[in-house]
């Protein structure tokens, strides 16, 4: 397992409020990591920094074998480098069909001219069908994404993430709005992906995290409070205090 992402000593301040405080984090490929922490701990902000949405005040974010800095790259460049993200609030293109949503996510050249001349190959079609089956939307391909249920939108966004075929998947609260069955399906899917990808999952649901069966990082007030197996961190006094104290 080689290091894929190395975040070191990053801090972010919003109007004087320190959302991320000297945070360091490393993940390899392949690896699965769960990130937990109370509301406002900075989990989403951490993903914002890695994907280029928010620029940290200090610290470094290094990527890949060459250790390129992600901080000098645009959101699009970071995504092209292989960082994919599923947002906490499902964000799909509601005005377009499920099929179209998957199509634009599909890993292909991203320039305007390539898009203009893009033809759907048999390969693309197969891939979209595979993904649609995986996310349970095979019979909804021609529906507008806007009319899907909350859970289905979650799945569609996961599908878009799969279509992108990134090296690192940042998955923010995937289980919200899902049935127990769907949650189990999601954990299975994520575990399968983690065999050859780097996967970071933020989730509040402890059962879900337990099923992921991976190393857990606990965030609190913008920095790492504890790290280790789920049982290990849940036995940590400071973690107990943080979770009981909220």
């Amino acid at each position: 397992m080689s290091t894929l992402l190395e975040v070191q000593g990053i801090s972010v301040t919003f109007d004087g409020f320190r959302a991320i405080n000297n945070l360091s984090f490393t993940i390899g490929q392949p690896e699965m990591r769960a990130v937990i922490g109370p509301n406002g701990a900075g989990k989403t902000t951490f993903m914002d920094i890695v994907t280029g949405k928010t620029r940290p005040d200090e610290g470094s974010v290094r990527w890949g074998e060459m250790g390129h800095s992600l901080l000098s790259m645009s959101e699009a460049q970071i995504a092209q480098a292989g960082v994919g993200r599923k947002f906490q609030r499902p964000t799909v293109f509601e005005d377009q069909t499920v099929w179209d949503n998957l199509r634009i996510a599909l890993k292909k050249p991203r320039g305007p001219f390539s898009s203009l001349l893009d033809r759907v190959s048999a390969e693309d079609r197969t891939r979209i069908d595979e993904i649609a089956t995986e996310i349970g939307l095979a019979h909804h391909l021609q529906r507008q994404a806007g009319v899907l249920s909350h859970g289905q939108k979650q799945w569609l966004e996961i599908g878009m993430l799969l279509a992108q075929d990134p090296r690192l998947l940042l998955v923010d609260e995937p289980a919200a709005g899902m049935t127990t069955e769907e949650r189990n399906h999601t954990t299975d899917l994520l575990k399968r992906l983690a065999r050859n990808h780097a996967v970071v999952v933020v989730e509040h649901d402890m059962e879900f995290v337990r099923r992921l069966d991976c190393k857990v990082t606990v965030l609190h007030e913008g920095s790492v409070l504890a790290e280790g197996t789920l049982d290990h961190v849940m036995a940590d006094e400071r973690v107990i205090e943080v979770y009981l104290g909220r």
Partner: protein
Amino acid sequence: MEGKSIFTRNRSVPIFIGLLALFTLGVTILSEGYGTGALSVSFTKVLGMTLCLCLAALAMDLVWGYCGILSLGHFAFFGLGGYMIGMWLMTARTEAVVRANLAGNVIPPTEAEVSTATALQIFSVVGAEDWPWMWAVSDSLVLSLLLVVLIPGLLALVFGWLAFRSRVTGVYLSILTQAMTLALSLYLFQNDTGLRGNNGLSGLQNIPGAEGIGQDRISIWFFWASALALGIAYIGAAWVVSGKFGNIVRAIRDDEQRVRFLGYRVEGYKLFVFTLTAVICGIAGALYYPQAGIINPDEIAPIASIYLAVWVAIGGRGRLYGAVIGAAVVSLLSTYFTGGRAPDIDLGIYTIEWVDWWPVLLGLGFVLVTLFAPKGLGGLVDLIVRKDKA
């Protein structure tokens, strides 16, 4: 549905092209130049010009309705296209007149003398007598046609690059495009900028090389050219928005940040659409002003670009034919009410003069459409079509 031609993929394309062809045929049959003469030359010109405005509205729908960039500057590109072709028309026409005048001389004039006399003729109105630098290629039709495409295209490219790179969006971008338009029209109003200040360019209806041919025929030629341009642009626009490019552009309209996280450089896409539509507007303007006969900086006034957006809003965004319907209906009504065709209404104590009241009527219409038909006039077409299917 993929892989088929655009005619079967977008049902509005064959219908639109069919109607446009029928309309063109009808106008030709009724024209003075080639038909019964039921349509006057001036009305034929109005119809041809309307097609050019529809073409500009089509471009506006691409950039605003599909890509979400509310540009309030696209009529400036339209005007620039007009100026570019206008320089050639005016040069060639004036030169012909000058040659005819000098033909009576005992000693035949040299080329330099013709050129000097032509420049004097064109620029004496602003107190100048030399060719300004921007008229450098005005004696070449090919180069002037190239400028029709290049100048609006380059201006859009530079402006768009600066604006999109700094991520100026929404109302700020609209204001910026208005500022660009205002600056351009103020610049053109100056007498010493080389484009004859507020006199503008005139006599553009006189087509060099067609001196013996009456306006009855020329008006129909331009009508045909305008219809052809609109038809081609419609097919092209439908093609551009039908594939993956169209999906991405609409995605940018709805949530551009999300598109970035998929790895697309949003700025590149916006710049592409902004520049492409500016070029379309330039071409539309180059077809419009020879029919109008005159262009002056007033045409580029910021309000003109706002009207363009109003047409598209009334016609309905994001459906191509909506923009065409909106532009045709509103601009024809505007010609009717402000061109002295609508009879004033005498109420005894007050006379409704339509020239003054037309903007009020337009504003009212805009509000009514927004309230009762948010999808615009084009949305009403959908209702009819959907009923058909049921």
